[in-house]
Amino acid sequence: MQFGIFTVGDVTPDPTTGRTPTERERIKAMVAIALKAEEVGLDVFATGEHHNPPFVPSSPTTMLGYVAARTERLVLSTSTTLITTNDPVKIAEDFAMLQHLADGRVDLMMGRGNTGPVYPWFGKDIREGINLAVENYNLLHRLWREDVVNWEGKFRTPLQGFTSTPRPLDGVAPFVWHGSIRSPEIAEQAAYYGDGFFHNNIFWPADHTKRMIELYRARYAHYGHGTPEQAIVGLGGQVFMRKNSQDAVREFRPYFDNAPVYGHGPSLEDFTAQTPLTVGSPQQVIEKTLAFRDYAGDYQRQLFLMDHAGLPLKTVLEQLDLLGEEVVPVLREEFAKNRPANVPDAPTHASLLAAKAADQEKQDKQDKQEKEGARA
């Protein structure tokens, strides 16, 4: 199972000091957080994509390429890449380029984006959001798998004899997750292609998350990619920890109360009771995260949101130390217990390459047999 962090990339004033970091400070902080993730033994770093203030990450592959050059093991991903408003051709090119630079340590998560004006800014119609996700991803899927693509669709200029370069590393497309909070259509899309499904459950009650994942698992099996238990599931999480849980609550409360998403709304106590947010000791985080399996089944990827709401970099790095030293090792051990042997790990470049080689070998053998059969 993979553990990692995902960042929104918001520039938010620290409510305890009133100070707002500069864009440069925030961008550098995101990089420092990514490097720290590798240092403390996490597996994945994912960045959001936004095209409006107060967010900075408009150019994810630029940032991930820089992180790739300074890390050895970390898988670089997104949370999410806008499949609606980006040109699928540019996504194909950017992420294939990143794959080569990062020696395959790349996957990505498709999302539609939830900021209305981004659609018109990029010449798109938000009412076509689902259809854009469907058509654009279909093209992206082909661009990584077919050397020469002839294509015509509704939302983009046609392609005749187009080759997206560079070709994916070793001829293996980056693994794709589809992220959606409330659209069953996207769970269906992920299932159709046999891709991963990520539910960012951090602001949602468990029963909603459960229904989305059950739908994805059932449809994954329906499309013949494996059993429902073998579908590739990722979940979000949101935590703030101190050794002593009272210290965690006291320190995090002003950030919670003023957070851009849920600030000035529910109480910290209500929100932690109703959503995956955990503010407390590492042990409490372990217990709450392990309980995700009760409604999501054995899953493949757990990403935590650690650096939002104006938390200073120093605090976030301390949080990552706690996550890497005290939480994730226990989670790895506990999640491995009673995990059925047929539940796969999240696909990586190495595993996809091996699967491709195995398929090729099988195909060669079949061809050979057919040839011999024809001769006899």
């Binding site: 069953p184 299932a191 529910p266």
Partner: protein, 217 residues
């Protein structure tokens, strides 16, 4: 048969709730007649849910008690909705409840018989039913009964309110019975469940004229 009453009265006791109860007392037995047992009546007092309603807008999802109320409303065969008049319209709390409901479940009221009613300090606001409540529930695709009931302070001591309550309650009951009796060839629109009725993906691709995915490499 299930009748749900949504009351946005704020004081205790409230004339809004009083009107709601009188409407329910007429509609509940009439909806099931000639069966002796009246329709089950469940009252949703918005005052008790005010904070959870506000939090639905800040959180994006309803807290447990509000989610229960939404489920009651969605499962109802008929609704009685009553609001006090504030600033020449329904109260903000009343509107917020239905805003939060439709964000959570946009089809919750589709095809549902709804009796609209309001209370106010003066009869001058009686058309609030026609210029505020009726368009709101029309937008939410409810079937609004023809008679709405407005009760000004003076109506509680005058003739006429009884007759309007009787007529409106009977109209709601007739719609509830009519929309739920298969012998009349009408059944309530089945609750759409987007999780159980997901459109097969190939259909979505076909609608866009896009061929299926390439074979795996």
């Amino acid at each position: 048969m299930k009748l749900v009453v949504v009351s946005a009265g704020l004081s205790v006791p409230s004339s809004t709730r009083l009107l709601a109860d009188r409407l329910a007392a007429v509609a509940a037995p009439a909806a099931t007649a000639p069966e002796p047992a009246p329709a089950d009546v469940r009252v949703v007092e918005l005052r008790d849910l005010a904070v959870e309603i506000a939090h639905t807008f800040t959180n994006g999802f309803p807290a447990p008690a509000l989610a229960d109320a939404f489920a009651e409303v969605a499962a109802a065969d008929g609704l009685i909705v009553v609001t006090p008049v504030f600033s020449a319209s329904y109260s903000g709390l009343f509107k917020s409840f239905f805003d939060a409901l439709s964000v959570t479940d946009e089809d919750a009221l589709t095809g549902k018989p709804v009796l609209i009613a309001a209370t106010g300090g003066t009869a001058r606001h009686s058309l609030v039913l026609e210029h505020a409540l009726r368009p709101l529930f029309a937008y939410l695709k409810a079937v609004v009964v023809p008679t709405g009931v407005y009760a000004a302070s003076e109506d509680w001591g005058a003739e006429g309110l009884d007759a309007r309550i009787e007529r409106a309650g009977a109209e709601l009951a007739a719609l509830m019975a009519g929309l739920t009796t298969p012998s009349k060839g009408r059944t309530p629109s089945p609750k759409r469940d987007s999780f159980e009725e997901v459109t097969p993906f190939a259909q979505r691709l076909a609608a866009l004229g896009v061929p299926g995915p390439s074979p795996a490499p």
